[in-house]
């Protein structure tokens, strides 16, 4: 069996019905796949005002045209839905092996609708697709669920995407995990899956992905691989992983510390790529088709026994993966914890319970700030939520995943937590989603990137620090940042839609390299301009969804702390984010009105006039 796919699986969970449909060919051409294609389907099919945790929401898993091929890092799939954390469209990306397996089974995309009457899992074995009872898996961790399904179905090669206890309990920032340690992490896609009573999607595919012009395709693949092989970015990812970034953000005063109260962390060296490599790392681990292998398999240090403070014995694991830069920050600097073993432990707990470590750490940091200020009292918490407390970190991660005690409040995310306690100023994020690990007071460009990102604060839609700290540019001035962010957002969106990893872009395999790969795979002659246009079209589709969902210009903003309260010390001292200077330029550059609404001319230009 060979397949170039072009098919989607539509699953009605309410009535237990499964159907195979052809994917609209015009959309596949105009949106490539993955993020773009799924966003277009969501805009077409979903009422943007739907409650994200209601049966009316839809949950889409989408691969791209290069997923499951030997294009470097052709491993990615995208989860697209209305986010439980953000009440906006979200597009959450994951690697590992699950996305390729879906294509080997013969499907590009899965659209899930409704709500199953009882805990359910979807099992896809090539043409055999069935909904199975998953009551016995409900309550299980991610690792237990994956192992359990593999044993139960007797398929060693089975790939599983699932939720953990956090997704079941509708933790607002629950992930969908696959291959145990890979996550469609942000915006609460796991809570949406949990609200649908869907525990897992297990896939085994024995077919092959065919490409339109194999000779041209392999030529483009090898050209890209050769360019990446000796690229310094690629080598750094392989040698030191993403956590190497911590040295750079620290140097520029852009490493948010203790809920963004400071811009540098005194223990940053405990958490950086070098320390992880030299003291905790066992091996590199690659996602499917990845020639970088930035993943770190890690072990706890010798004296880590004190962090086994969990109340649930099933979480007493002593091995896992990570931490990535973001996790080392959120579970480290942002909560003031400089103990790598505690960070590792918290990171693995997040993976096994199925929670986004960024929002987890950031929400805990907000709670810690309120505890230090006396708003949260000892009577409310089982451990003192002091900044820097490793015990509080590990225990609260677990308590949040299970919604135990004060963890129940943290599980709502820091925006809802701050609002409930009447201190909304502790929420450090945009559109309900917590910031990742770049302080916009250290990198102005990240300010406009965060404020305008369609899925709330995110570093993966336009990553500015590399641009801002090179070519003689000043990361502390707003000029020139909006234009670049628009440009980068469009390119990144196209990249996401191909089904490959964004890290190829920083490893010598930029978007230009993906154009001939995609053209040969699809048999369509794309140019780089086509790709940028596809990115822009998709960005506008996401924007239209959000506007229809009720978001406005007022949501394209940043917390007061970043706009009015500069750091007192360090390289970024005295700087605040000049959003007023950047936002109008951004809207103009996008061809939007002063209120941030795409005009008719822009929509016509993008072929979106009918929407």
């Amino acid at each position: 069996m060979t397949t170039s796919t072009g098919r989607l699986l539509r699953v009605d969970l309410t009535h237990g019905r499964v159907a195979v449909e052809p994917i609209r060919a015009d959309w596949q051409r105009d949106y490539l796949g993955g993020r773009g294609l799924a966003a277009r389907y969501l805009l077409e099919e979903l009422d943007p005002r739907v409650d994200p945790l209601s049966p009316g929401n839809k949950l889409i898993f989408a691969t791209g045209p290069l997923t499951g091929t030997p294009v470097p890092c052709g491993a990615r799939y995208m989860v697209v839905t209305k986010g439980a954390l953000t009440d906006a469209i979200t597009t959450s990306n994951s690697g590992g092996h699950w996305g390729p397996e879906l294509r080997f089974a013969g499907y590009d995309m899965v659209i899930l609708e409704g709500r199953a009457p009882r805990p359910t899992c979807l099992v896809i074995r090539d043409e055999r697709v069935e909904l199975r009872d998953a009551s016995h898996l409900w309550g299980r961790t991610v690792g237990e669920t994956e192992d359990g399904l593999r044993r139960e179905l007797g398929i060693p090669g089975l790939r599983v995407a699932c939720i953990g206890p956090a997704g079941e309990r509708l933790v607002r920032f629950a992930c969908i995990m696959n291959d145990r340690h890979r996550a469609a992490g942000r915006s609460g896609v796991g809570a949406v899956m949990g609200s649908k009573n869907l525990k897992a999607i297990a896939v085994r595919g024995t077919g092959g992905v065919a490409v339109a012009d194999p000779a041209a395709f392999m030529k483009a693949v090898w050209k890209m691989r050769d360019r990446m092989q000796n690229n310094p970015g690629r080598i750094s990812f392989t040698e030191l992983g993403t956590a190497a970034t911590i040295d750079m953000t620290q140097a520029f005063g852009g490493l948010p510390t203790r809920n963004f109260l400071e811009g540098q962390f005194e223990h940053y060296e405990n958490l950086n790529g070098t320390t992880i490599k030299e003291t905790r790392m066992v091996a590199n681990k690659a996602c499917f088709a990845c020639t970088i292998a930035c993943g770190r398999v890690t072990r706890l240090g010798e004296h880590a026994g004190k962090y086994l403070v969990n109340t649930h014995p099933r979480n007493w694991q002593a091995a896992g993966e990570g931490p990535e830069y973001e996790n080392a920050w959120a579970l480290g600097a942002d909560v003031g914890v400089g103990d790598l073993d505690a960070v590792l432990k918290a990171n693995w707990l997040c993976n096994d319970l199925g929670m986004d470590p960024i929002s987890m750490g950031a929400s805990l940091a907000a709670a810690m700030e309120l505890y230090e200020r006396g708003v949260i009292t000892d009577a409310e918490v089982e451990v003192p939520l002091r900044f820097g407390s490793a015990e509080a970190l590990v225990r609260m991660v677990e308590a949040t995943g299970y919604r135990e005690g004060f963890g129940d409040a943290i599980a709502e995310g820091s925006k809802r937590l701050g609002a409930k306690l009447r201190h909304p100023e502790v929420f450090m994020g945009v559109k309900g989603q917590e910031f990742p690990a770049y302080d916009p007071r250290g990198f102005q460009g990240m300010g406009i990137a965060y404020a305008t990102c369609n899925r709330g604060a995110c570093h993966l839609r336009a990553w500015t620090p590399g641009f801002e700290t090179s070519g003689g540019r000043d990361p502390h001035v707003p000029e020139g940042k909006s234009e670049w962010v628009v440009h980068e957002q469009n390119r990144t969106t196209a990249h996401d839609s191909t089904g490959t990893c964004l890290f190829t872009g920083a490893s010598g395999g930029a978007l230009e390299a993906l154009v001939p790969c995609t053209s040969a795979a699809r048999g369509v002659a794309y140019t780089i301009d086509d790709f940028v246009k596809i990115g822009e079209r998709t960005w506008n589709v996401e924007r239209l969804f959000n506007l229809a969902a009720g978001l406005t210009k007022a949501d394209d903003t940043l917390p007061r702390r970043l706009l009015q309260e500069p750091h007192k010390a360090g390289p970024s001292a005295g700087v605040v984010v000049d959003l007023d200077a950047m936002l109008p330029v951004y809207y103009r550059e996008r061809g939007w009105s002063e209120e941030g609404v795409p005009g008719r001319d822009k929509l016509s230009e993008l072929g979106l006039a009918s929407t």
Binding site: P70, G208, A286, T291, A293
Partner: protein
């Protein structure tokens, strides 16, 4: 001097580029399930093991075949299945002590690594040189040092 595959499991990251390359040679598509090079993943030990036919000097599969459908390729020295002769009796798959002869579901016939007639696609595709192809005293020589290493770590963990 023979040419043989040498596998260095420590270098493998589990990316499956070898399976993609092998299946592309076999089928013209990217279908890891059809690959004759297979990567075993041992997550708990953080270990990945690519493995395929060792091209034994005295090949059990060859001896077992009742119709002489397994021959020696003159160019590479590899034991290859002659598709025209194979009757799909599965005896070679049972005879192989390493489990590296497979039956193709579509044709019902045997399939095994033929070293791509001297230019193995898996070795070319491996980004970390975990699979190498070159001169070797005998096929599978790499297993000796690997077995010794596993033995040492076992002794270190559990004693003699």
């Amino acid at each position: 001097m023979n040419q043989a595959l040498t596998i260095v499991p420590d270098k493998c990251t589990g990316c499956m580029q070898c399976e993609l390359a092998c299946s592309y040679v076999q089928t013209g598509t990217f279908a890891p399930s059809q690959s004759l090079m297979r990567v075993s993943v041992f997550d708990e030990e953080a270990s990945y093991a690519p493995f395929t036919c060792l091209q034994c000097d005295e090949a059990w599969c060859m001896n077992a075949c009742p119709v002489n459908a397994i021959a020696i390729d003159a160019a590479s020295g590899a034991k290859v299945v002659v598709d025209r002769l194979c009757i799909g009796c599965h005896l070679c798959t049972i005879a192989c002590p390493f489990g590296t002869v497979f039956t193709l579901p579509q044709s019902g016939k045997a399939a095994k690594c033929d070293l791509c007639h001297g230019q193995p696609a898996c070795a070319a595709a491996c980004p970390t040189q975990a699979i190498q192809f070159g001169a070797s005293s005998r096929p599978g020589a790499w297993l000796d040092s690997w077995a010794a290493k596993v033995h040492r770590s076992h002794v270190a963990a559990f004693g003699e």
